[in-house]
């Protein structure tokens, strides 16, 4: 990974010391990650873009408080997460999304039972309908599952890092992640099966 080869600690030290222009360079590898994070919480592109910009500005303003024990990417992710969360709270103050959230200790999540599942190649993502299908399914997850799924399976944070970022226990991360994955499987597996290549139909 290109981000591993860059000396981010050194870049950050230079920025804090006054070379502010270097911040443009520092954040380039993280633009998509921060935007995607915001979008999976905020449901629309304009809000997500605004939240992402705000997260980058906050990171810039607070860069001096960044401690190099953490990875810059993880620190930035938690700023983006907080920004998205606080916007949801503001926006959903009336809608009360939290009331719809199921309890973790409820019944077991059951998967979609498919006998003839075929692997969906990632080329399928060239199709907009498939990308939208995946986006929608993630966005439709209740917030507590969406956050964990986003951090673990998309941002690839460790269980420990995700627990830290969310302020929950490691075992809650595991339980919520399992449920999130099962919910996505249940919803997406039947839909994706429909978009699987059906080449055999015209195999002349």
């Amino acid at each position: 990974m290109a981000t591993e080869l860059r000396d981010e600690s050194r870049m950050i030290a230079s920025i804090v010391a006054g070379d502010a222009q270097l911040f443009h360079e520092l954040i380039r590898p993280y633009e998509r990650r921060v935007y995607a994070m915001a979008l999976s919480f905020l449901h629309n592109e304009a809000d997500a873009e605004d939240a992402a910009q705000e997260a980058f500005l906050k990171a810039f303003r607070n860069l001096a408080s960044f401690r190099s024990e953490a990875k810059f990417g993880t620190w930035l992710t938690s700023i983006a997460l907080n920004e998205a969360r606080s916007r949801i709270r503001r926006r959903d103050a009336i809608r009360m999304e939290s009331l719809d959230e199921p309890q973790e200790d409820g019944e077991q999540a059951s998967p979609a039972l498919l006998r003839d599942w075929k692997e969906i190649p990632s080329e399928a993502l060239e199709r907009k309908e498939v990308r939208l299908m995946l986006q929608k399914a993630i966005i439709a997850l209740p917030l507590i599952y969406r956050e964990v799924f986003r951090l673990r399976d998309i941002e690839q944070l460790s269980v420990h890092e995700a627990a830290q970022a969310l302020g929950i226990t490691i075992s809650s991360v595991k339980v919520r992640l399992h449920r999130a994955r099962m919910m996505l499987q249940k919803k997406l597996a039947p839909q994706l099966k429909e978009v699987a290549p059906k080449r055999r139909r015209w195999a002349w």
Binding site: A20, Q21, F23, H24, I27, E31, R32, Y35, A36, L39, S40, E45, E49, A52, Q53, F56, L57, F60, R61, Q108, A109, S110, P111, A112, L113, L114, R115, D116, W117, E119, I120, S122, A124, L125, E126, V130, R131, L134, Q135, A137, I138, F149, D153, I154, Q156, K174, L177, H178, R181, M182, L184, Q185, L188, A189, L192
Partner: protein
Amino acid sequence: MVIACKHVWAHISDYLDQTLPPDVLEQVQKHLEHCEICSAILDSTRNILILTADERVFELPLGFSERLHARLEEEIKGLAP
């Protein structure tokens, strides 16, 4: 020990993360060998994780980067003496 499908489902996430204790892992693997439903569930879950992690799913809007850096530039200039 033979375990039921339902128990296998409860372990799918840990199975994918390779965090199952060895004895449970063995039970799950044995079950998967002859249960095509559970194998399909496992495959579909794994595949969904691969697809959702693909960066193409959440594409940046056109001009996102330009607008972001322009806004940062204003902030940086604003800080300059």
